[in-house]
């Protein structure tokens, strides 16, 4: 593997029980993407689409940019909900994925199409 000597902290995704190392200057989502890992859904990586919504259960993050209020309300934000593409880890993180892909054409039709 290529050497990346930046100091990192572990990010643990509870649902998949996966842990990946994430640097302090990258978002939780970028850290995951950089390693080609999975667990948190990936969308715009720019805070607008909301698919990467997570609940931070343990640890501290710092903001990298605005999060869409269409997906995370101000109140939710105080409760630890945020977008994984908009926060970087300060300490080790344990999180739960709450965002999910919404399914256009495919899924809704599976039942009707295969009936």
């Amino acid at each position: 593997m290529f050497l990346d000597t930046r100091p990192k902290v572990p990010v643990h995704v509870t649902q998949t029980d996966e842990t990946f190392p994430c640097a302090h200057d990258e978002s939780l989502l970028q850290g995951m993407l950089r390693l080609g890992r999975k667990g948190i859904p990936v969308g715009c990586v720019n805070g607008g689409c909301g698919v990467c919504k997570v609940h931070i259960l343990e640890g501290q993050t710092h903001p990298l940019g605005p999060v869409s209020r269409a997906h995370v309300s101000a109140e939710e934000e105080t409760q630890g909900f945020t977008l994984a593409c908009r926060v970087a880890p300060v300490t080790a993180i344990r999180l739960e994925v709450t965002g999910k892909f919404e399914k256009p054409f495919r899924k809704g039709f599976a039942a009707t199409a295969n009936a």
Binding site: P41, C44, G65, S68, A115
Partner: protein, 314 residues
């Protein structure tokens, strides 16, 4: 003649400085104006009207409205009657509601998206002018997009409850605004559900498209480039500027377009799109894609559906 083409898209952005940098440096647009509310107006080098993108400051991403230009001012009165006769409320926004623009006919599509029609927007000219012009200007930056080409709107589609705003929009666009259908995706038993449509007023395969999803929203706005090589270059520009690429350069089966998808800094999806595809005509038979070929329709080479492409939008 009614509607000529797409005129502009008004987008919500969460960080104006970052958004402006993106539309200038990546797409190669130029800022032409800023109003007292902090909205920023931009145009591409090959466009002659004052703007084709409006960026409005917001706490979320997404589309405010999309506007199409009609040929004559009187078209607005005629279309107002037709839209209202169809059962959709309209409002005539007076001249100056948006700077450098004449009056606008405002209404919502059956899907809920706000559409505006207008006949007048201030003429400023292309970067190469009209007298013995060069084919392209020397001050092109970034991808050097020629013009805003089309938009794709996500429309609510729920077969269980029988809601299909794709079909409703398509019927409205056909019956009232006189668009014609070029391609469609049909799904379900006997292809009974029209799940996505591509529609035109010009001679390109689409001036607007509708795709079914769980909720209404904006899938993308697209900008025109000449060639496949320009698509490659625009991908290089995105790599240089650390722009989030959604789908690397490829070809669509639907419309035959050569394409790359990426996100603006607020997560609104953009496309740069090249190639004529084919000459869209009213008497050209409609192309139909079925459920089992949907992957190839979208990404012709791999035929794979990319989750972030089909399931993420603002």
């Amino acid at each position: 003649m009614g509607i000529m083409r797409i005129g502009h898209a008004s987008l919500r952005v969460m960080d104006m400085a970052a958004a402006l940098k993106h539309y200038e440096k990546v797409l190669g647009m130029k800022k032409t104006m800023e109003d007292k509310h902090g909205n920023v107006y931009l145009k591409c080098w090959d466009e002659w009207d004052k703007f084709s993108v409006i960026l409005t400051p917001s706490d979320q991403a997404g589309l405010n409205h999309v506007a199409y230009k009609v040929e004559k001012d009187s078209d607005l009165d005629e279309l107002k009657k037709k839209v209202e006769a169809y059962g959709i409320k309209t409002a005539m926004l007076e001249e100056g509601t948006l700077p450098s623009m004449g009056r606008m006919l405002q209404f919502n599509l059956p899907s809920g998206h706000e559409m505006r029609l207008y006949a007048m927007k201030e003429y400023v000219g292309t970067e190469v002018g009209i007298d013995n012009p060069d084919p392209w200007p020397d001050n092109i930056t970034g991808a050097g997009a020629h013009w805003l080409d089309h938009c794709l709107l996500m429309c609510e589609l729920n077969p269980e409850t029988g809601i299909n705003k794709v079909a409703e929009n398509t019927k409205f666009m056909t019956d009232v605004l006189d668009f014609f259908l070029t391609e469609q995706v049909v799904v379900g038993p006997n292809g009974a559900i029209q799940a996505a449509t591509w529609m035109a007023r010009t001679t390109t395969p689409h001036d607007i498209a509708f795709v079914g999803g769980p909720r209404m929203g904006l899938h993308h706005i697209a900008f025109f480039l000449d060639s496949w090589n320009d698509i490659l270059k625009s991908a290089d520009v995105m790599a240089k500027t650390k722009t989030r690429i959604d789908v690397a350069p490829t070809r669509h089966g639907i419309t035959r377009g050569e394409t790359i998808y990426f996100f603006d800094p607020s997560g609104n999806r953009n496309e740069t799109f090249a190639g004529l595809g084919y000459l869209a005509q009213r008497d050209r038979p409609v192309t139909t894609w079925d459920e089992s070929h949907l992957g190839s329709g979208i990404f012709y080479h791999t035929g794979d559906l990319v989750p972030s492409f089909t399931e993420v939008y603002t």
